[in-house]
């Protein structure tokens, strides 16, 4: 596995931004890239540790799945949710067509 970002220059900001569904302006890319390289260079120390027998810690409390009784309660008021939506149609949140042009 290629771990060393600085040497291999495989850190591709466009690929990662695409995974994160994040548009990055062309003018910001170079600075972000340099910052990321510095940070990744720093956290690199973690990949050098011998940790094979250590259990990973996911959480600080020992949480378990908790099931509760299925009790019918009043739903969250629909109008409150719709009032903060960027665009609505009747009692629905409106978005552009997901499958455009198919039925035209």
């Amino acid at each position: 596995m290629e771990k060393n970002m600085k040497e291999n220059k495989i850190f591709n900001i466009d690929d990662i931004a695409a995974l994160a569904k994040l548009k990055i302006a062309e003018s910001d890319k170079k600075k972000l890239m340099n910052d990321m390289m510095e940070i990744v260079g720093y956290i690199e120390e973690l990949s050098k540790l011998k940790l094979s027998n250590i259990e990973p810690m996911h959480h600080s409390s020992n949480i378990q799945n908790i099931s509760r009784e299925d009790i019918v309660k009043a739903p969250f008021p629909r109008e409150k949710i719709l009032s903060i939506a960027p665009d609505t149609f009747d009692e629905l949140i409106k978005v552009p067509a997901i499958l455009p042009d198919e039925e035209q």
């Binding site: 994160a20 994040l22 990321m36 990949s47 600080s60 409150k80 949710i81 903060i84 067509a97």
Partner: protein, 489 residues
Amino acid sequence: MKIEPNITIAKIAKNLGEGKISSVEICNHYLENFTKKNSVFNAILSINKEKILKSAEESDKRRKEGKVLSSYDGIPIAIKDNLCVEDEPCTCASKILEGFISPYDATVIKKIKAAGMIPFGRTNMDEFAMGSSCENSAYVKTRNPWDKDRVPGGSSGGSAASVALSIAPAALGSDTGGSIRQPAAFCGVVGLKPSYGIVSRYGLVAFASSLDQIGPFTNSVLDSAIVLDIIKGKDPMDCTSIDSKIANFAELLSQPYSIDGLRIGIPSECINCEGLDNVIKENFNESINLLKGLGAKIIEISFPHWKYSVSVYYVIATAEASANLARFDGIRYGLRAKTEKLSEIYLESRGLGFGEEVKRRILLGTFVLSSGYYDAYYRSAQKVRTLIRKDYDEAFKICDVILTPVTPTPPFTFNSKSTPLQMYLSDIFTISVNLAGNCAISVPSGITSDNLPLGVQFTAGFMREDILLKTSHIFELHRSIKSFIPPEN
């Protein structure tokens, strides 16, 4: 009754109870301070004066009728802008939530309202709580109450500054890696990060869910205990929440106790670390001597994995943030970019709505979780997190409380950190506490010759708020400087 600067809520409550002051008078006093000071210091992002005064009138009516909800009925408290208060804005200091109105109350808000306390203004912060200086707010720069050219700390800088400036007698903030304790130290107020789970996170806009915790900013340790008593408790809406073993921390502090024989651990790695400012070292040694004088035993402890905490934190916190912030997609609420295609809505809305630091952390989190790097970074960070927790567990076998500085330097000036990594490294003393889930408190401990406040951090084990609050309370009672009021206040 005159409301002096930095009055405690314990004292306000006493005067309310004796009929020496009304809630309307109290709220008007703080609203006047807001009008006088906020245009300079920008601690508060938004405030609804009419609503506050209406709540104050209702509180006074309850009191007249003998129906107070608690001793603290009618006392205002400022709220960090990442906590939902029904029908109020909640921007997280981000453009992506501009104009958003919370449809519900966070559990902590429900609880403070149930105690009759009045939400008082929304405090500025680093966008989505990502930062240590408030410089990452998309709206305004909060100035340090002690020196306008310096930062108030972050991310809850607005909450800390509000209390220091007497714009509010207390405030709520959130702490993911030090976001309560560091600004508390920079502003000269008390800041408490409770053990993970003691306070419900329902209605707190999530940054890193395994680290986030809500806590108070106050003018005294007793006030922190009072607010913690009000906001704590298991909540069906947050399955990570738990009940604390002690029902009433404020009452605990009213009982006589001493720290004679208490074992205070000093991690040698922390004290000898690079970049620790001399003024912090001196003040820290004074604090040690004070505690020694009160009968505490000082024990040198070892913290072998402490040096990895910045790396571990910035892997785990960004990984969790990259998942948590996926909800801001322009569909159901918040900013939506005007585009033709659905797929572009996500990209454009997030590109327009998020600021630079948030983007950087989403990218970093996405990277450490991506195929090929998950094991090297994310999995390794989780394993070192185990080791950091073990270091604490070992330490608490030989000591009761750990004492460290809160920050490596006094409050710094604007734009003084040259790269994001330099800023991250300034969190070195606070972040390991969140990784382990322990509780910690920042208490003012001194004032520099430049008139800047300094703080020390007490850390206790998971669910050991009892010993944390007792120790810091004793420290506060005996420290040489009695009051921490910024100049011109």
